[in-house]
């Protein structure tokens, strides 16, 4: 086995290297802080000279997502990356991809909102990512990395899931994970798929009609409402299968916990320190980290909710995931929220105080 390639890298740079290494066919993006290093790294690495991966600085976010739609429709592994207001601009394209069942990857390195907001880290796009953002009854597979290593590893995972279910996938990161540098074991190289492999694996792809088959049509439009409902039922059945099979989470010191923190991404990293500080004071706190935000680990949270005295949803926003936790626990256990907004990231001691105030002293 080849020696592991260990490097020191930013989360954003890790996304770019992982894309090149996992056989990504095309990246289409438009610069925005705090994720510009993705496109910058790709421009430096020039993958079009090595793997043949296409890299385009598009004229806008709208153009980017529609280029991803086009490439995905041809069965290609295509992606884009942006930050919150840029991803807001992409929502129409994402809904169209969900409707036409076109795979593709969107990376959101979140910053403070709403609107143009700030350039500092935030997690206030949880609703945008998990509730659609575009129109219609659809879901996007959402992965929340909590380290530079996961920023890299989730690129391939997101593509795999996206093609397995013919559904757009998103990596929901933020300015902390994008900008920080950590040790990274680079993923192994995987070649881009050949045209023959794509034809075999994606018989639905619109990559030029051969005589022996009928034309493939990929569209989200269906004017016959009966047919449109059938299409929706098919999508809902697919989403149900994803909910059954693809929930991912990490469980840290939950089994003896009296209180539970639920946190994802950078907040989960802060949460690790919070449980360490609480346990040093003799308060048994555990951390449940949803890795997939959709599908949400509702079953695991319900299970843990029956054993603890209270749950704190710690998110760097005004309280979004807390709604999913309340749905999962259905009033069986007190559920509180703590968060900061606009790009302010709380330090662990602030969260410890909030946990005591909201769950223990109340």
């Amino acid at each position: 086995m080849a020696e592991k390639e260990v490097v020191l890298m930013k989360g954003n740079e890790a996304v770019a290297h992982a894309a090149i290494r996992c056989g990504c066919d095309g990246y289409f993006g438009y610069p925005i802080t705090p994720q510009s290093e993705v496109l910058e790294t790709l421009a430096l690495e020039k993958p079009w000279e090595t793997t043949g991966m296409v890299v385009v600085q598009a004229e806008s976010e709208l153009a980017s997502i529609n280029m991803v739609y086009g490439g995905g429709a041809a069965g290609k592994r295509c992606m884009t990356s942006s930050s919150s207001p840029g991803v807001a601009l992409m929502q129409e394209g994402i809904a169209y991809m969900a409707g036409a069942e076109i795979p593709g990857l969107i990376v959101n390195v979140q910053r403070g909102g709403p609107g143009l907001g700030s350039i500092q880290p935030s997690q206030s796009d949880y609703f945008q990512a998990t509730r659609g953002g575009g129109n219609g009854d659809y879901n996007v597979i959402v992965l929340a990395p909590a380290s530079v290593q996961e920023m890299a590893d989730f690129v391939d995972l997101a593509f795999e899931l996206s093609f397995k279910y013919r559904n757009p996938a998103m990596i929901l990161s933020d300015g902390v994970i994008g900008q920080m540098m950590e040790k990274l074991v680079l993923p192994p190289f995987k070649p881009r798929r050949t045209e023959e492999q794509i034809q075999e694996e994606c018989p639905w792809a619109t990559m030029g009609r051969k005589k022996e088959r009928r034309p493939n049509i990929l569209t989200s439009l269906e004017l016959d409402c009966g047919k449109m409902e059938q299409k929706n039922l098919h999508l809902q059945a697919k989403y149900e299968e994803i909910r059954e099979k693809e929930v991912r989470f990490e469980n840290v010191l939950c089994e003896d916990a009296e209180y539970l923190i639920v946190a994802f991404g950078s907040a989960a990293r802060i949460g690790l320190k919070v449980i360490e500080m609480c346990r040093a004071e003799g308060i048994k706190v555990g951390l449940l980290r949803p890795v997939t935000l959709w599908p949400f680990p509702a079953g695991e949270i319900a299970r843990l909710g029956r054993r603890v005295k209270g749950i704190l949803s710690f998110e760097i926003n005004a309280g979004q995931m807390v709604e999913d936790i309340r749905l999962a626990t259905d009033g069986q256990v007190p559920v509180a929220h703590y968060g900061r907004m606009g790009g302010v990231v709380p330090a662990p001691d602030e969260v410890v105080r909030a946990l005591k105030e909201k769950l223990i002293q109340s």
Binding site: L8, E182, E276
Partner: protein
């Protein structure tokens, strides 16, 4: 072993790159590392700071309010971070431009006149390496040889002729750092 460090000063002093070289050296030694910069408009001419965490185990929060060690390179950073050093922790500061020196008695305070030393060496750009030398002298987190190795790995080859000067700066810092007061 786990050390949570804040390095803070003016933008342009090499705060971020000093943190990066330290993180790289720790990586060379097989440790876990996290380097978290303050980023945004405040870096342009204003203060810049970076959190570096070096550990034998998985690293938790990159966002902290208390540090084992603070490396302080200007007065605004001293005002902001002196109170954030954990009791029993370490504060290292450059005396240049400091009007109100640190006053805490429950931490170990070291002074390093790296700005003056860099001027003496007629090499302003190695200022941050002098400071780093001082840091690894009083907090032996990494070996000086691994810092040199990190420089070789993180600098583009066209700058490798500068490595001996950087190594001299590291050793200078190890020599001149002294308990304050």
């Amino acid at each position: 072993m786990k050390e949570e460090i804040i390095i803070a000063g003016f933008g342009g002093q090499g705060v971020l790159s000093m943190g990066k070289i330290l993180a790289y050296a720790a990586l060379v030694e097989g440790k876990e590392v996290t380097w978290m910069p303050s980023y945004g408009p405040e870096q342009r001419g204003g203060t810049a700071n970076v959190t570096v965490i070096v550990s034998d185990e998985r690293i938790s929060s990159p966002i902290l309010s208390a540090y084992d060690t603070a490396v302080i390179l200007n007065q605004p950073s001293l005002d902001k971070f002196e109170s954030c050093v954990k009791p029993g922790g370490t504060l290292i500061y450059d005396g240049y431009g400091i009007s109100t020196p640190p006053s805490r008695k429950d931490i170990r305070v070291y002074r390093i006149d790296a700005m003056d030393a860099a001027a003496e060496m007629k090499a302003g750009k190695v200022f941050n390496m002098i400071v780093l030398g001082g840091l690894i002298k009083v907090r032996p987190l990494v070996e000086v040889e691994d810092v040199v190795h990190a420089l070789r790995k993180s600098l583009p080859p066209r700058h490798h002729d500068l490595i001996p000067q950087n190594e001299a700066a590291l050793r200078k810092g190890m020599e001149i750092i002294a308990p304050a007061g």
